[in-house]
């Protein structure tokens, strides 16, 4: 037994995620997976894992405290949002990788942003369901019994190791960025007139309290339909911007159903979906229209950048000297 990770305290919304449960959307099964895939991948890469396949913990807006019950030092990496992390008396910025001694505890506390990720070197060994460990609570699939994590859960480790030095992660893409969210029009942009589209791309929208892993409802000026709002259900992709009967945008997130019956004005570019995921109630965003090809190039460039995560990792001087990373990169979250 390579040991386990003990959940001492799990705030609401903590789940096990991996890159997602692909190939079953035709049976109504959403891929799930991380809300901020860029941060998730960064944490996995920093922990030396396969960036998409290794399972880690997504921490929602609550506190998470874990203890290593591995029988040897255990490497972990964390990043995403503006969470503050603590190991004993040591405080860390929102992005670092550490080596936990057996029995050592680590705590995450949200300060800004909505989701943080904890990757464990070697990944978690919770059961695979249809090829994935990703949790989808509505369908009771994946993770532990398809539910959010609870105090006392023990998560089996797959192949724990600690073959790295403790370090801070200062990847520029983890810092807050208020640039407009890029949007590709379609497939039902012809359900909206020119004036409605102009409103959508010039107005400011505010994230409402109605946000969860399935969808983010936004508040702003009305986006009027020109041909009604009932369509015969068709496919839905991550980031789809549905305009339902109330004329307000509903952006479909990681746990979205694979089909839907409201017109979809467009889709948030995959490169920007994590930035929306990290927004909290009351925060605002704007949208920028891009072509599918522009969105594709943006995604490929972003993926290349993330693949270079190792370039943004800077070892601490030595363990035990109270590392406190400077306010750069991900640290910007706390400086706001």
């Amino acid at each position: 037994m390579p040991g386990q990770l003990r959940i001492l305290r799990a705030g609401p919304g903590a789940t096990i995620q991996d890159g997602g449960r692909m190939h079953f959307r035709r049976y109504g099964i959403t891929p799930a997976g991380p809300m901020d895939w860029a941060a998730f991948r960064t944490a996995n890469l920093a922990a030396g894992n396969d960036p998409e396949r290794a399972a880690g913990i997504e921490i929602g807006p609550g506190v998470l405290e874990i203890a290593s019950e591995a029988d040897a030092p255990l490497g972990v990496a964390f990043c995403g949002g503006g969470f503050s992390w603590r190991r004993g008396e040591q405080e860390f910025g929102p992005a670092a990788r550490l080596v936990l001694r057996p029995g050592e505890r680590l705590q995450a506390r949200p300060a800004a942003g909505a989701f943080a990720y904890l990757a464990v070197a070697g990944g978690l060994a919770t059961p695979l369901e249809l090829g994935s460990r990703a949790t989808q609570t509505r369908a009771h699939m994946g993770g532990i019994e398809g539910r959010m994590l609870r105090d006392g859960d023990g998560l089996a480790l797959l192949a724990p190791r600690a073959a790295f030095a403790e370090a801070r992660i200062a990847a520029p893409w983890l810092a807050p960025n208020s640039a407009p969210l890029r949007v590709v029009l379609g497939p039902q942009d012809d359900y909206f007139g020119a004036a409605a589209l102009a409103t959508f791309f010039t107005a400011e929208f505010r994230v409402t309290a109605a946000t969860d892993r399935m969808a983010y409802r936004l508040e702003g000026p009305e986006i009027a339909h020109s041909r009604g709002y009932n369509i015969v259900s068709d496919g839905v992709a991550l980031g789809a911007i549905q305009i339902s009967g109330d004329k307000k945008p509903l952006v479909l997130m990681a746990d979205h159903p694979p089909t839907g019956g409201y017109p979809k004005l467009g889709h948030i570019a995959r490169a920007d979906i994590g930035r929306l995921a990290q927004m909290r109630r009351g925060e605002t965003c704007r949208f920028l229209r891009v072509s599918p090809e522009e969105a594709r190039i943006a995604l490929l460039r972003f993926e290349e950048e993330i693949a270079m995560t190792a370039r943004h990792i800077f070892p601490f001087a030595a363990r035990g000297d109270g590392p406190r990373p400077p306010n750069e990169g991900g640290g910007g979250w706390l400086a706001r």
Partner: protein, 238 residues
């Protein structure tokens, strides 16, 4: 002459091939024909496809495939209207008696029909599986008799049990997991049609035919026992 499909972007990682905008068996047959043709003649970079009533959504990896190359590949495919084999026909037992027919009386009152008549109409039709959607294993059926056309509820009802047979908006479906819904629950099957521990997780496929066999509550209990032991309860018509 059939109109060519529309190719619509769903972001930079999915393409919608839309054959029409209606619920129509002929449109759905074209969707399934493209789905089969893509499966028979795959192109690198396609992750998965999702057939719906009137369109096929193709999820692809933009690192391996561009939307333009995908459209070119689709245009070159030869679409066979129907496969040579007859579709599978499933007989699904349904209990229209209490406690399994939670909304039957309400539907009967709304449609001004006797509850027995509602059940007989629902059980008397042969349905075609158009798509899965909404939630894992929710199987959407076309072919509901016009007399059972009823609008969706103004607000969702509490979660239906697994196996609930639902109707609304001129459509029928069989639920797999408890979910709140704006549809009406006419009865319930003891068959487990969705099981994430199996691969594929469903037995009934898009394009298959489905009809219902009314059963009494006692039979429901016996079949539920069988289903719990992993025995198949829905059977194929021979």
């Amino acid at each position: 002459m059939q109109a060519p499909p529309r190719y619509l972007p769903a972001g930079e990682t999915a393409l919608v091939v839309e054959f029409g905008a209606a619920i129509d068996p002929a449109l759905n047959a074209r969707v399934r024909a493209l789905d089969r043709a893509l499966a028979a003649c795959p192109v690198d970079g396609v992750v998965e496809t999702v057939p719906t009533y009137r369109s096929l959504m193709i999820h692809f990896d933009p690192r391996a495939l561009s939307s333009a190359a995908l459209i070119e590949h689709i245009r070159a495919l030869a679409l066979e209207p129907e496969s040579g084999e007859a579709p599978r026909h499933w007989i699904v037992p349904i209990c229209y008696a209490a406690p399994h027919a939670e909304d039957l009386a309400e539907v009967a009152a709304l449609l001004d029909l006797a509850p027995e008549r509602v059940a007989a109409l629902h059980a008397g039709a042969t349905y075609r599986v158009y798509m899965y959607g909404f939630a894992p294993g929710y199987v959407f059926l076309g072919g509901l008799p016009a007399q059972l056309s009823i609008s969706r509820r103004p607000t969702p009802r509490p979660p239906v049990p697994p196996g609930a047979a639902l109707i609304a908006g001129g459509q029928a479906l069989i639920a797999s997991i408890p979910m709140p819904t704006g549809w009406y629950n006419l009865g319930r099957t003891p068959a487990v049609l969705f099981d994430p521990r199996r691969n594929p997780p469903v037995s009934i496929d898009v394009g298959d035919a489905v009809s219902f066999e009314p059963i009494e509550a006692a039979r429901f209990a016996a079949l539920e026992q069988m289903a719990r032991q992993g025995l198949p309860v829905a059977r194929q018509k021979t």
